[in-house]
């Protein structure tokens, strides 16, 4: 058992006047649209919270999130770190006696959060519906075409071996500017999110014993090991898919960083040979990403009973990731086989998808990366989440229940 010091809970002073309920009916409609259509079926039995391997005794979920959503209690949902501690494994949906599918509702609440924390606001809206999709793609396409036009690359294919360096300065400018915007946008979202979590923490701004650095470290460990994700039962194939995508993406991110610094600072010779360890890492990353995506596609398409329904946010993010992997790998293959025109245009398409992923990061499902990470840090920092996440404790409870 946890042998830490006895914890004394300090409650915020009880307000004499209760919270006067304000129901945001639009929120209920929004969550319904974003994939939480079953939320009204919940009759609050709490089975979901009991079967969830991630839920803690102190702050069980997703039972409470279900009624908050039913009642349209926006503030509570947007400030709830527990929404982000759910990995949508579907254990709760499978066991729900009413078919309320809490896992899907939790996902819908997260989608709603991307939209709500979006800065600027119109970007949140743009990513929430397929009708804006052509516009979102048109922007990078036109931007890159303009660049190509201005350097005269549209009229003639560069001579010599196929290399993507000529375009680099412009790409750098575009992507560095974009990254700056994205960083500002995401920072604003995260700061608001943190403030909200803090304000609505029912236990007051009292933090756990972990401390901020320790909390960040624990959160990083959790993300890297997928420790909690692994506890999911009904939909554990999702864990495998996610692991592939996650590590594929990390590998590609590292390679991109090395190549960027290596090229721009140390004028590393490009393209690298296939035997170069960095190149090996890049190709491995791309394959992992593609395999991960394929598993995810399979899961979403053929295991709906366990995985639950998939919605626009899910398909968009997964498709973009998959297409980045595929176009990246294709670019490399075509380059090696010497078809210059095809190679350059594939690379062009690849860059458009990369732009989409990075540029719209704070507003798409991709943002779960940062919101979830921040929520995990907060949970640990505020002492909300230890119980269930302490493996030893969980194991012991399991043993006890067996005994």
């Amino acid at each position: 058992m946890n042998s830490g010091p006895t914890r004394i809970r300090v409650f915020r002073e009880v307000n004499m006047a209760n919270n006067v309920i304000e129901n945001d009916v639009d929120l209920i409609k929004d969550i319904t649209k974003l994939g939480g259509g079953s939320l009204k079926k919940c009759f609050q039995c709490g089975t979901c919270s009991v079967v969830c391997n991630l839920s803690s005794d102190e702050r069980p979920f997703p039972r409470k999130e279900m009624i908050w959503a039913q009642w349209g209690l926006k503030d509570k949902l947007l400030s709830d770190p527990d929404v982000w501690r759910c990995y949508q494994c579907g254990d709760c949906s499978v066991r729900c006696p009413r078919g309320a599918k809490p896992a899907e509702v939790m996902a819908a609440i997260r989608n709603y959060s991307f939209k709500s924390y979006a800065f600027p606001k119109f970007m949140g809206k743009a990513l929430s519906s397929p009708k804006y999709l052509p516009l979102l793609f048109a922007f990078p396409v036109i931007l890159f075409l303009l660049v190509l036009y201005s350097i005269g690359a549209l009229s003639s294919i560069p001579a010599g071996p196929i290399a993507f360096t000529g375009f680099d300065t412009y790409v750098d400018v575009i992507f560095l500017t974009l990254s700056a915007f994205v960083l500002i946008a995401i920072a604003k979202g995260v700061v608001n999110f943190w403030k909200n979590m803090d304000q609505n923490n029912p236990h007051g701004p009292r933090y756990g014993e972990a401390g901020i650095y320790n909390s960040i470290w624990l959160a990083i460990l959790e993300v890297l090991t997928h420790r909690n994700f692994k506890k999911c039962e009904a939909n554990n194939i999702r864990y495998t898919g996610h692991l592939g995508i996650f590590y594929g993406f990390i590998a590609l991110f590292i390679v991109t960083a090395i190549v960027f610094i290596g090229d721009r600072v140390f004028h590393m010779p490009l393209p690298m040979s296939l035997a170069n360890p960095i190149k090996i890492l890049a190709n491995l990353g791309a394959i992992l990403l593609i395999i991960g995506c394929l598993i995810a596609f399979y899961n979403r398409l053929s295991r709906k009973d366990k995985a639950g329904e998939s919605y626009y946010y899910d398909w968009l993010f997964l498709s973009v990731l998959f297409l980045i992997g595929v176009t990246g790998l294709l670019t490399e293959i075509i380059r090696l086989s010497g078809y210059a025109v095809a190679a350059y245009w594939t690379y062009f398409i690849h860059l458009v998808f990369v732009f989409f992923l990075i540029g719209y990061f704070p507003y798409s499902k991709f943002a779960h990366l940062i919101y979830r990470f921040v929520a995990i840090i907060y949970s640990k920092y505020a002492g909300m989440a230890e119980a269930a996440e302490d493996d030893a404790v969980t194991e012991e409870t399991k043993l006890k229940s067996v005994a």
């Binding site: 209760n18 919270n19 309920i21 609050q44 409470k64 009624i67 039913q70 009642w71 029912p202």
Partner: protein, 714 residues
Amino acid sequence: MDKKLGVYICSGCDIGEAVDIDKLVNVVKGEQKIPICIKHENLCSAEGVELIKKDIKEQGVNAVVVAACSPRVHFDTFSFDPSIYVERVNLREHVAWSHVPKDEDTQMLAEDYIRMGITKAKKANPPKPYLVDVNKTILVVGGGITGMTSAIEATKAGYKVVLVEKSPVLGGWMRRWYKQLPQKPPYRELQDVDIEKTINEVKKNPDIKLFTSAEIESISGQPGMFDVSIKQNGSTITEKIGSIVVATGWKPYDAAKVEGLGFGTYANVITNVMMEDIAVQGKGKIRRPSDNKEVGSVVFIQCVGSRDKNHLPYCSSVCCLTSLKQASYIRDNNPNAKVYIVYKDMRTPAQYENFYKEKQADPGVFLTKGEITGIIENHDKSLTVNIKNTLIGEDISIKADMVVLATGLVPATDSSILNLQYRQGKELPMLKYGFPDSNFICFPYETQRTAIYAAGCVRQPADSKTCKDDATGAALKAIQAVELESIGAAVHPRALDLSYPIFFMQKCTQCKRCTEECPFGAIDEDEKGSPKPNPNRCRRCGVCMGACPERIVSFENYSVDIISSMLKSIEVPGEEEEKLRILVFACENDAYPAFDIAGINHTIFNPNVRIIPVRCLGSVNIVWIADALSRGIDGIMLIGCKYGEDYQCHFIRGSELANRRMENLKEVLQRLVLEPERVKVMELAISDYDKIPNMMNDFMAKINELGPNPYKSF
């Protein structure tokens, strides 16, 4: 009547392997001196039955003793002309299947049972029914949905009905509802109230004699021949009635009795009944009382007084549904309206779960568990409802235009409704919470008055659909009652029993025990205090027989003398033999079948026990105990149904009365220098057969401790 006995012993079903049949025949022929005794290996076969029939025809046998299986089986096989008395000796379940085969004690047990059976057959006579001129008209009290349905159903079965309704119009509460709950699959949509159709059907029915604005002045007499005086417009009409369905319905619980909710103080705090009136007036538009403003938000508070031991301890079963129904009135009229339902538990029985799901799916309906801590009226006459222990996770307040209190149903039983001219009181006795129940576990509609059946909300809180089912069931019971009365037979639970208690009035001392203790108020009194039995009110339990100190009450086939003689025929071994004898009086309803089931399961129990079935423990007369003890019986067990709270006694008070009488007996026993522990009242449910061996052993151990009955040698 001259008795000619014939004893028929079956050796089938293991009986022949367990006991020496020839020895039994010797007991019959030698000791009991009955020449007609036949053994057969399969008495229930056509050939076996033919043997008995032949003797009846050729030898003039008029009392048949069948020593074979339990009287609970092959009842029809061993039924002959009504003039032939049949006694069954249970050699199979109570001897062969529950005791060690070929054992000396088993043989003694079988021989004793044969002796007891023969003794009873000698004394008992086939009953002659109580036949009177029976009127089969059914009285229905109450003209709501239940009463009307009962009346219609009874006429459909070919019976005449007299329907009495207090108010000038038929229809009861249903007439006041704006809509009714879904009555047909998929149970998701509200329906229009269709009570007018039923009202017209009743009015047009030539077999229903309708009295509106009428009340019952008095009901006298007995089932089959009730004299019912109906008061209408100042005049009194008398009707002859066979049986009665009580469908007086319910009244809403007074919301003003529940404190802290502002009912009666705040204009916009109303009850669910008032809500229906508002809906009807506004044709679905809900306007609040204070300013006639159409409501935009309403809080429903469930269980107002219900499931609260200070108010109505029970669940009224329809209030949750009513609130969901009224929530749809509001939502259907105003798509922007918000409806909040604060409940203890949402209870939507049976198919209504679908309706609950339907309403739950409405985005404008908000549900939570919670407790109301107070209601505040704001300046604009809106209300702020404070709630604790919610599912939201914190104490909340809801601001609303109106608050609806979901009050429960109170059975309409408290005032003078039936005015029965019964010695034990004018109304139906109530069991719990004012419901006129009798706790007949498997038999709804039964009250504690014979041939008077309760249906609808007066019996249990119910929706109209359940009320209709109730109405049909109660009508059927009322029909059964008049039909059984017309042949002089008892109704449930001794249905078809033709015997009835006969009072030997010359010896009566007017002690009034029988009139007071009869669980069904069957016995009235004359001016001198002598009992005036009403056989058609009687359930033939024999509680009066058990009560009578002068032993003047008897049935043709069940009397103090018959049982006394039976127990005296048991052979009690002398002290030197060291064989104890225990007598068991087992209730025929649960305990006796439990012994049968023990036998069927081949559960071996102590062979020193002799079982005498009794109609009810309440029919056990103290004199039997005295007789048994003076004969040297070492201990006596009275095994019957559970009594007290949630009693299981089929005659309501029988086992309780037996227990009380045995308590009184203790003193007498002590005076006789006999240990009171020798007599014990025990409870045994029909399913408790597996407890029998231990029950017997424990009692036997106790008696062993006390030693043999000191009166044995006298």
